[in-house]
């Protein structure tokens, strides 16, 4: 047994400080993304999730110029983006997608400028890769408490709104008839989405944050019909994929003829593989479950 574990876990994994930090941050981010993502999928907000990540990258890239913690930049801009998306008051999904696309375009233009300045005016030449594709092993240890608090607050609000989110997702009319403010729930949800996406931006990068937000929930929704189980399962799949990705990334330094694979690539690949497995072997949800 010991021999087996020595083969799976390369030396120093459990004593490495960057690994500790990666495992903790990765778990929090995966739980928040997975549970928030269930509602992103059922509300048809996947594009908005991707957009908020892209908008956040503008803030992330500006942070390097300003010399502040990138998480603050990511958060500031994605929450602002969520506010803009709520304020447009687009009534149809098509109108919403168009307006989101315009805002994203503008934000990414600015991000291109900031990333250019990052590499030419500051010494952080690795900033573009870190912002776009993440670097879970270099998350500063001072970021962990912020991630924990933000994650805790996001989950608390998400669980508080759980039933209203389900009912407004099923049919806004049903929720409105019970005195629920459909608009308020939608705005609160977009804010939660912005925080969830910012958190995953610092771990696997803005480009890949969508994978962590959409992948585990999409897999969970193929495996269960119960909303509670889907929410828990999405978190579990997210954490398992993230941890496995971290382990493999660490181990890959020791693999023959390799000098390490990026954790983001491994995490996202595991998530996508999990989804494909669920599609192939999971029950077809479009078939009635009863006989």
């Amino acid at each position: 047994m010991t021999g087996f574990w020595q083969g799976v876990v390369e030396p120093g994994f459990f004593s490495s400080a960057p690994v500790h930090s990666a495992v903790a941050v990765g778990a929090i981010v995966a739980v928040v993304s997975g549970m928030t993502g269930v509602f992103t999928v059922i509300r048809g907000h996947s594009f908005a999730g991707e957009a908020l990540g892209d908008i956040g990258s503008t803030g992330g890239s500006a942070s390097y110029l300003l010399g502040i913690n990138p998480l603050i930049g990511f958060l500031g801009l994605s929450v602002l983006g969520a506010g803009l998306m709520s304020a447009t008051g687009a009534r149809t999904r098509k109108a919403r997608d168009v307006e989101t696309g315009i805002v994203v375009g503008g934000a990414l233009g600015l991000a291109a400028l900031f990333l250019y300045l990052d590499t030419t005016r500051t010494s952080t030449t690795g900033a573009p890769v870190t912002i776009l594709f993440g670097s879970i092993f270099t998350v500063p240890s001072s970021t962990l408490p912020i991630v924990a608090v933000l994650g805790g607050v996001t989950l608390t609000i998400l669980l508080a709104l759980y039933r209203m989110l389900l009912l407004t997702s099923l049919n806004p009319g049903l929720a409105a008839a019970r005195g629920t403010s459909v608009r308020l729930v939608a705005v609160a949800y977009l804010a939660l989405l912005a925080v969830a996406v910012s958190l995953s931006a610092i771990t696997i990068g803005t480009i890949l944050s969508t994978a962590l937000l959409i992948g585990p929930p999409a897999t969970a929704l193929r495996l269960t019909d119960s909303p509670g189980r889907a929410t828990v399962l999405a978190a579990v799949i997210g954490v398992a994929s993230t941890w496995l990705g971290i382990l493999l990334a660490y181990d890959s330094d020791y693999w023959p003829r390799q000098h390490g694979w990026p954790a983001s690539f491994l995490i996202v690949t595991i998530i996508v593989a999990g989804y494909l497995l669920a599609r192939v072997f999971g029950r077809d949800i479009r078939q009635p479950a009863f006989g």
């Binding site: 269930v38 008839a177 019909d225 479009r286 009635p288 479950a289 009863f290």
Partner: protein, 279 residues
């Protein structure tokens, strides 16, 4: 059967009274001086063609649409969320990707407006099982709502509305897109619920024929005006002619009623298809 709180309202008092309700969208009058009452146990059809103002009237009763006039529920003006009113909305499109089983949807009828996560208590499970049983939906309680047929979804939504023990049940076009057999099943179910539980049922439809056997009274809407009373008294040529403001024929054919409006009110609408029949 779920016992209803009979102490709350005496059986003869109107559960819903609509007095002189009017709604204007800009310069267009959608509802004008609409008045009627519904007593517990009564099955009332809200009949009118598309665009006559049925949904607007239901939204006024739900407190979602500002209006002039008075709406009293259980003898009192309605407060924010009124537990006395259950509601089944119109043409609800249920996505099979939403991870909600029939029993989850019914459970949300109990506490879908509350904060927090629902706890699977024995009481909650029993109430959900009871409501599912009342609409004969126990068989598909664990199926995803989006995978059910139109008639099955309609039954689940009725259970969703019933579980909070309303005294008034509002249904917006629940028979739209149903096949004839499901139409009958839903109407029979609602008629039984109205009688057994002493609930006032107000159901909107553009076709009154599927409701004829079950309906105690009718509220007939045309061009924002309404006539109400027992079906046989309201669905008469002279009453509907006054409502429409021109001559209307009411034809009784075997067990069906055909209302021939006879002319098109809006001049911009094509008239080559002859008289519009509101069956």
């Amino acid at each position: 059967m779920i016992p209803t709180d009979t102490a709350l309202i005496s059986s003869d008092e109107a559960i819903l009274s609509v007095e002189g309700v009017g709604v204007r969208f800009g310069t267009r009058t959608v509802l004008d001086e609409v008045s009627f009452t519904i007593r517990p146990g009564e099955f009332t059809g809200l009949i009118g063609s598309n665009g006559a103002g049925k949904t607007t009237l239901l939204r006024v009763i739900l407190g979602l649409q500002p209006a002039t006039g008075t709406v009293l529920i259980g003898g009192r003006p309605r407060r924010g969320r009124d537990r006395l009113v259950g509601y089944v909305p119109q043409k609800i499109a249920l996505d099979p990707d939403i991870p909600l089983r029939a029993r989850d949807v019914v459970g949300l009828g109990l506490d879908g407006h509350r904060l927090g996560v629902p706890l699977p208590t024995r009481r909650r499970r029993a109430l959900v099982a009871e409501a599912l049983d009342a609409v004969d939906a126990t068989r598909f309680a664990d199926a995803r709502i989006g995978n059910l047929s139109g008639g099955e979804q309609q039954r689940v939504l009725i259970a969703h509305a019933l579980i909070s023990r309303p005294r008034l049940l509002l249904l917006d076009e629940p028979l739209a897109n149903l096949d004839v057999r499901s139409e009958h099943a839903v109407v029979d179910l609602l008629s039984r619920i109205a009688r057994d539980r002493r609930i006032g049922v107000l159901l909107s439809a553009h076709d009154m024929n599927p409701l004829l056997d079950a309906m105690d009274r009718v509220v007939y809407i045309a061009d924002g005006h309404a006539a109400s009373g027992p079906t046989d008294e309201v669905v008469q040529s002279d009453v509907l002619s006054r409502l429409y403001g021109h001559h209307v024929d009411v034809i009784r054919l075997h067990d069906r009623i055909l209302v021939s409006v006879g002319r098109v009110d809006r001049p911009d609408e094509p008239s080559e298809h002859g008289p519009i029949v509101v069956p």
